[in-house]
Amino acid sequence: MSAVVDEHDDHHHDDHAHGPEKGLLRWIITTNHKDIGTLYLFFALAMFFVGGIMAMIIRAELFEPGMQFVEPKFFNSMTTMHALVMVFGAVMPAFVGLANWMIPMMIGAPDMALPRMNNMSFWVLVAGVLLLASTLFMEGGAPAGGWTLYPPLVLQTGKALPFAVFSVHLLGISSIMGAINIIATIFNMRAPGMTLMKMPLFVWTWLITAFLLIAVMPVFAGAVTMLLTDRFFGTSFFDAAGGGDPVLYQHIFWFFGHPEVYIMILPTFGVASTIIPVFARKPLFGYSSMVYATASIAFLSFIVWAHHMFTVGMPMAGELYFMYATMLIAIPTGVKVFNWTATMWKGAMTFEAPMLFSIAFVVLFTIGGFTGLMMAVAPTDFQYHDTYFIVAHFHYTLVPASVFILMAAGYYWLPKWTGNMYNEKIGQLHFWLSVVSVNILFFPQHFLGLAGMPRRIPDYAVQFADWNMISSIGGFIFGASQLLFLYIVIDTIRGGTGEKVTDEVWEDAHKHGLEWTLPSPPPYHTFTTPPEVIPTEHI
């Protein structure tokens, strides 16, 4: 609990502290964590809209029964590419961008530990996503076998298959480099006195996420490489006719895939745990139990993968084990939700856009958690599996959870990054439009799934028509509302409300994190000498 005494070297440049390159080159060769963070965030925002356009195509085709706009195969390409772009192009890079910007500032470090690798991991990501996007224009179309790329179906992909596989390799390399950088930074560059158990939860959740990334990205790369050799080099890893097993791929994929979904949600938890205390004007409740719960969830994520595969015909022992293990995840997740609620309890809350998005996250993520628990129960999953019920479930854990928290983070830190205040009125409008439309979009999908509508179908029986139309309307409103966010980001960078913000921006924020002790916007290089005293409010 204190102000930080930091000299910010910007007033007396020596040979080591220089400003950014001039012009466009700055963004290409930069090794500055703030510049790279900005690149990641803008790239993610762009991909959010690219993936969003694909979602709009999907919802337009599903607006009414009958095929109106696209061929079934292109529809399948859209669901596949929407998922891949949103997961690997939008949500993951956005959190890496936040990590780049915030981790050094939160732990009192001058930059990331490996700045050149930082630059490389960003540009490899761009190459990977562009390669993936280019498959849309190839003979035979983009991959259309679902983002899970299950064989044998995915082996029927046209010319795009090897390009998609190589793009996964590039994305994996980029993620692993980013993860190594984050781990190296957190372990080596914390300011004196910043012990592990004093780190902000955002840093903790990213540390754990980085280990998940290093553990599972190579597994995914291996799986897709086996697809490649099955298709082109005569192996039969996944071909029963050659002694292989198509279900083996599913095991390998979900050994990657389940931790992958937690890679997208753990940093979300971290941001929520950062924002809620500031606007409740209270310390986070149960800091250490939050850290342990995050670690437990990460551990459990490795041992539950086959709950995605209850219908493939596993032995009874396997079904029972994966059911029990999956149900266990509810416990640490529950602890987190209870802790956030207790943090709000008896606070002095205000409801600016970051807090609104964070509260919506807690509520709507919990709903996604409930349906997750329902699906953990294997016998009921025999009904839910591969229906719109699961589409509703994972979108609740991704859109009003991860994406809402990314919005919250944007509103929360934009004033710090730019030195300008965003337009709160438009922010509130953006929130209310988003929170209402996201529920119109996804809640009816629970009904559709329970009533028997399978997922990944371009057309449906007419008894599903009404809820699909409502869902599509929600989708269009949600999609359009996000243009407000784009407007706010640009507007804030260009001056926002014109009001210059203080160093701490939010009332008493300096008690909650080191970044609020720096000027707004922070100078190009910060903490070239470590801060001497660190805030302890969050403990």
């Binding site: 095929m67 399948n76 198509p246 800091y287 002095a348 409801f351 509260i359 919990t366 591969d386």
Partner: protein
């Protein structure tokens, strides 16, 4: 919207359906139990949160408390959810065990998923057919068809030939697939099961109430994944028996093998093409570059007709083996059609009879009967010779199910080691192998007499068995000659 037309469609529900089996009802109860637990917890947590949001706000002048941890509370809200989870796991485990029990089933149906249709084989009475999307739905679902789906009864949930099952009987389903993974789901039965190429999955049902139950493929299987519905009609036993008779008659109908004029072949081929080929190769034969080759100007079609016949009959890559799906006359028509229409004009043709000769002998269509050659007498062999030869016959014909060491794969494929059949009367074993039983195919025609005798002798004197007897090829030869002709439906 379209309320008037609702009557033609299934009733709409917001919740899971109870279904028509005991298992589906158990699953429904389990679903409701967990749903209410979630609602209860949700009301508690969200209630607390909204109370706090309303009362503990700065604008109302509330002062923030500064408490920030309490180990007792953390322990309480870890233990209570654990207890709730245990309460959920117990009924879940019971239902799961019940679902898995395929013992004592009264009949078996093998279900094979194809891109994009279902194949049904009744293992007990030989009924066998393919089931695909009905024509009305198929027309309406084309992009820009201009047909209002609401005018089509059971749009996308109707098939040309439904699966018919008797009520109140325990039916075992065996699932597999011919190309990619599919998944077979009828919500009213309470479960879905994946159909995986090269593997066999099991599930069972016992339907209480006669009626028509509809479902769909639920594993993404390519472009027409949304267009391969499943319809099950459950009939009471007397009605079912009538249906079986009729279906057996139907199955026996073979192809019309009489020669047809060139123009007839082409005309009829157009219909076969529209139904079976146009989904991928497109109605105009232009194909989809990179995915489905064009028929128009195709090198295969312009080349030797035998190459094309071979490709159509046996499939290649994404192209299914139509030899298993279509009859000889349909095959000859569609092949002739593709060579002389859709922008091609090769000018030749193939007659049904020629196609029939190329079809695999196990096809249900009648094969051109070849008079059995007068068998050469076979010399006797010693037991050791038979065992040695039997080893390789076993490896290529039996080991995939009964396993290399004869340990079988419980519960589907019985172990041979210590098997009562193998240890019992040799004639009973020979009879079982000649005629098959359940999943066990009949090897009567599939194996040469020598190989047959060798493998019987091998199983009785190896794989952990030592009955110490043998059967001679000449004995088997006599039994084989006495077997009914291979195509028992050839009349």
């Amino acid at each position: 919207m379209a309320l008037a037309l609702r009557t033609a469609q299934a009733d709409y529900t917001l919740n899971l359906m109870k279904g028509v089996t005991k298992v589906s009802n158990d699953i429904y109860d389990l679903h409701m139990l967990i749903l209410w637990i979630c609602v209860f917890i949700g009301v508690g947590v969200f209630g607390t949160m909204f109370y706090s949001i309303y009362h503990h706000r700065k604008s109302k002048g509330h002062q923030a408390a500064q408490f920030h941890e309490n180990t007792t509370v953390e322990i309480i809200w870890t233990i209570i959810p654990t207890l709730i989870l245990i309460g959920m796991a117990i009924p879940a485990t019971k239902t799961l065990l019940e679902l898995d029990d395929v013992q004592d089933s009264e009949m078996s149906i093998k279900v094979t998923g194809w891109q994009w249709k279902w194949e049904y084989e009744y293992l007990d009475n030989g009924i066998h057919f393919f089931s695909s999307l009905d024509e009305a739905s198929n027309k309406a679902r084309q992009v820009g068809s201009g047909i209002d789906p609401r005018s089509v009864p059971n749009y996308l949930l109707n098939v040309d030939k439904p699966l018919v099952i008797p009520t109140k009987k325990k039916i075992r389903f065996l699932f597999t697939a011919a190309d990619v993974i599919h998944s077979w789901w009828i919500p009213d039965l309470g479960w879905k099961k994946d159909a995986i190429p090269g593997f066999i999955n099991e599930a069972w049902t016992s339907v209480d109430k006669a009626g028509t139950y509809r479902g769909q493929c639920t594993e993404l299987c390519g472009k027409d994944h949304g267009f391969m519905p499943i319809v099950v009609i459950a009939m009471d036993q007397p009605d079912y028996d009538v249906w079986v008779k009729k279906a057996q008659e139907e199955s026996k109908k073979g192809a019309d093998l009489s020669d047809q004029s060139h123009d007839d072949l082409v005309t009829k081929g157009a219909t076969v093409y529209a139904k079976n080929c146009s989904t991928c190769h497109l109605p105009d034969g232009k194909g989809v570059p990179g995915a489905f080759p064009a028929i128009t100007g195709s090198a295969v079609i312009k080349g030797d007709i035998n190459t094309q016949v071979n490709l159509v009959l046996n499939g290649k890559g994404g192209m299914p083996a139509f030899g298993k799906m279509l009859k000889a006359d349909e095959l000859s028509q569609v092949i002739t059609y593709t060579r002389n229409a859709l922008g091609n004009s090769v000018g030749d043709e193939i007659q049904p009879k020629a196609v029939q000769d190329l079809l695999p002998k196990t096809s249900s269509a009648p094969a051109a009967k070849v008079a059995p050659e007068k068998p050469e007498p076979i010399a006797d062999m010693s037991k050791d010779e038979l065992v040695n030869l039997g080893k390789s016959v076993y490896a290529s014909n039996c080991a995939s199910c009964h396993q290399a060491e004869g340990q079988g794969m419980s519960p589907m494929f019985p172990a041979l080691t210590g098997s009562v059949v193998v240890k019992g009367d040799i004639n009973a074993q020979v009879d079982l192998m000649l005629n098959g039983k359940g999943m066990m195919p009949s090897f009567g025609h599939a194996l040469k007499a020598t190989d047959f005798a060798a493998v019987v002798t091998y199983t009785r004197n190896s794989l952990g068995n030592s009955v110490n007897d043998a059967v001679q090829p000449s004995v088997i030869q006599k039994l084989q000659l006495a077997l009914p002709a291979e195509q028992d439906d050839d009349e």
